[in-house]
Amino acid sequence: MSFHRGRTSSLASGLTARLAIFIIVIAFLVTPTSWSQADGPDPVLAGSDSALASLAPITSLVAEDNTYDNGNALRLIWVPSIDDRLIDSKIIGYRVYRLAGAGEPRAIAELPPGSNQYLDETVLRDSVYSYYISTLSERAEFPSNRTAAISPQREWINLDRGYLFLIALAIAGAVIYYVTVAKRGKKLFVRKIAGLEAIDDAVGRATEMGRPVLFIPGIHDMDDVQTLAALTILGRVSRTIADYESKIFMPVARSLVMTAGREVIKSSYQAAGRPDAYSDDMVNYITDEQFGYVAAVDGIMVREKPATVFLLGAFFAESLILAETGNSVGAIQIAGTARPAQLPFFIAACDFTLIGEELFAASAYLSGEPRQLGSLKGQDVGKVIAMVVMTVGVIALTFAEAWKIEFMQDILDRLSIIFSTN
């Protein structure tokens, strides 16, 4: 089926409506209530060496719990000494003192002139602290009032990340929704991806020529999601290879990827009913060293002369070295990476390139399985969200800047808050 325009917009508006409700709810939740306020009146000049010009201490020192942490930080806020504003002031900085319980004060930090806040991340939950801050001159210091005793609190939910949660929910929800829709048997349309259409031909060519297929899964370990994408594609490719009775060779730069790669290929061969044709020698660990690996793979390419080379995963500077060597031995090359910096080199030197998102979509596309295809459609909802938000943001900013329309500025501020990271 095709994606009707009407449905796109109704979907988008439904999402925005839901977003709007959440925004209101969260806005209420996030509104600050009362903070623990330091008591006592403002400055009391500390008695000090009367021969020296005395400096005004800082004022309005407040210690408050740092919100949304595991109870391991306290935040200090104050108004700098009035002397700090003078052109030739004698202030050389501030020193922060902390008292744990009824203990002795200990200096925990020194700050440059002009500072007005400090985050103490060396506190323990359930302990009680109070603070004061001294204004420093060359020879003396002028302490402020002490804050009320406070202990850091643990919060169970980070409300600052409410919008992040909502955006995650919206996109994940869309993906899961279309997965279930597809599971119920609804046929979904997915456009052709050239690089993936070519895989069968490329493997077939290797069979005809009697040369191996070389599969390079990038140089990162399993903690990079691009490596996982490469391995999922390997699952499909090795199945085709098993069916065609071609040879595959996969040199890797990480021991874990070797283990996982063997697991994948072995299962594919089993599924193809040819478990005997599988051998551990198909996947070999070379070295973790980036260019040592490249040197070895280059050697393999010129000696084995693979008919087809897959370069899928996380690539860095080696992308072009590998792709050019592969090209020089006349291999068909299918590349894909989510490293924008390396894409130009693959585009230049390979026959087909999976650009960014296409790498992650590849395995779902190749599987042809309805649930997997459904997840691709879910991704597109994320794109609709991005396009709508961008358009609204651009229009709001344009009007707010050109004609100073306040209402537009409000929309923009809201959007910027929702789409901010913290």
């Binding site: 052109i87 030739d88 002031s89 202030i91 050389i92 700050l111 440059p112 002139p113 002009g114 500072s115 020089s328």
Partner: protein
């Protein structure tokens, strides 16, 4: 003056390219190894026999050069070394060229660093550039080195309103109150120009935000090539000129030699390092042209067959 050692490889490169061009017009492709050889010769020749190309200053560089050139003699300029040894090959040539230019125009320079690692690199410039080139200039009279102070943006926050509060003495402990340059300088507002050389953080961006904008002082920046594009939005209002990477340094050196012939024989690392770059770029551009000619001739050949 170019000697035989330079001429032979240059003739080989350009002769070879013309030969390949003729072949391309006949529809013939070039083998990879031939390209490799051209690149190697193009890079190795200028290393063995320094070849420098006359660089024309682009407006972003020229603007800063003209500002320093046109300030009345005796203006005070603040120059900050905000980089580390890793960045030094790219940006130290700029720092050297800028200091030479300022001192040749008889401006007074106040040197400082926001990076602790900048101190030793600043000393290199003082020791190997200023002392030999301007032996008559006196530390503390014609230029002052106030050294490094910790605090990153905090330092900028202070010096924008009071310079001596952050830097009461120079690096040798001499109180700035006795230094003549500082008779006229109370804060950053009193400098006629601020130059920052670096590219990390704190760097030019912080100088613009914390000093340039609030105090309304013109800022000139020398930065590593990768950072340069991020700085263009500030040009030409907040940053009056940008030297980006080795190419920026080379353009500045070129301009400097043009207007101040006394520097004809100075070290020109920017220009020297641009030699292999320029030749290699020219070779690559030539191969793109040759490739396209071969492609179109080859296609036409196929059609007529």
């Amino acid at each position: 003056m170019p000697n035989v050692g330079v001429l032979v490889p240059l003739v080989a490169i350009f002769g070879g390219l013309i030969w390949l061009l003729v072949r391309a017009i006949r529809g013939r492709e070039v083998e990879r190894r031939v390209i490799f050889m051209f690149i190697f010769v193009a890079v190795a020749t200028p290393i063995l026999f320094p070849i420098t190309f006359q660089e024309h200053a682009t407006p972003v560089v020229k603007n800063l050069f003209d500002r320093i050139e046109n300030l009345p003699s005796g203006s005070t300029i603040l120059m900050s070394f905000d980089f580390d040894p890793a960045m030094a090959p790219e940006v130290q040539p700029m720092a050297n060229a800028l200091s030479r230019h300022c001192l040749a125009r008889e401006h007074k320079i106040v040197f400082m660093c926001l990076w602790a690692t900048g101190q030793s690199l600043l000393n290199t410039t003082l020791e190997y550039v200023i002392r030999p080139d301007f032996p008559h200039l006196v530390d503390g009279v014609d230029f002052v080195n106030v050294g490094y102070k910790a605090g990153n943006e905090g330092v900028l926050n202070v010096i924008v309103s009071d310079f001596k509060k952050m830097f009461p003495t120079d690096v040798n402990g001499v109180p700035l109150d006795g230094v003549e340059i500082f008779d006229k300088v109370g804060s950053c507002k009193d400098f006629d120009l601020i130059l920052t050389v670096g590219g990390g953080r704190p760097g030019p961006k912080e100088w613009v935000l914390f000093v340039g904008d609030p105090a309304d002082v013109p800022i000139g920046a020398g930065v590593a090539a990768v950072v340069a594009p991020q700085l263009y939005p500030y040009y030409p209002r907040q940053v009056i000129g940008i030297l980006g990477g080795i190419k920026g340094a080379a353009e500045y050196e070129s301009e400097l030699v043009k207007t101040h012939p006394r520097f004809e024989n100075m070290e020109k690392p920017g220009l020297r390092m641009m030699g292999p770059q320029t030749l290699a770029h020219v070779v690559i551009l030539a191969f793109i042209v040759i490739g396209n000619i071969a492609f179109f001739r080859g296609r036409r050949g196929k059609k007529t067959e």
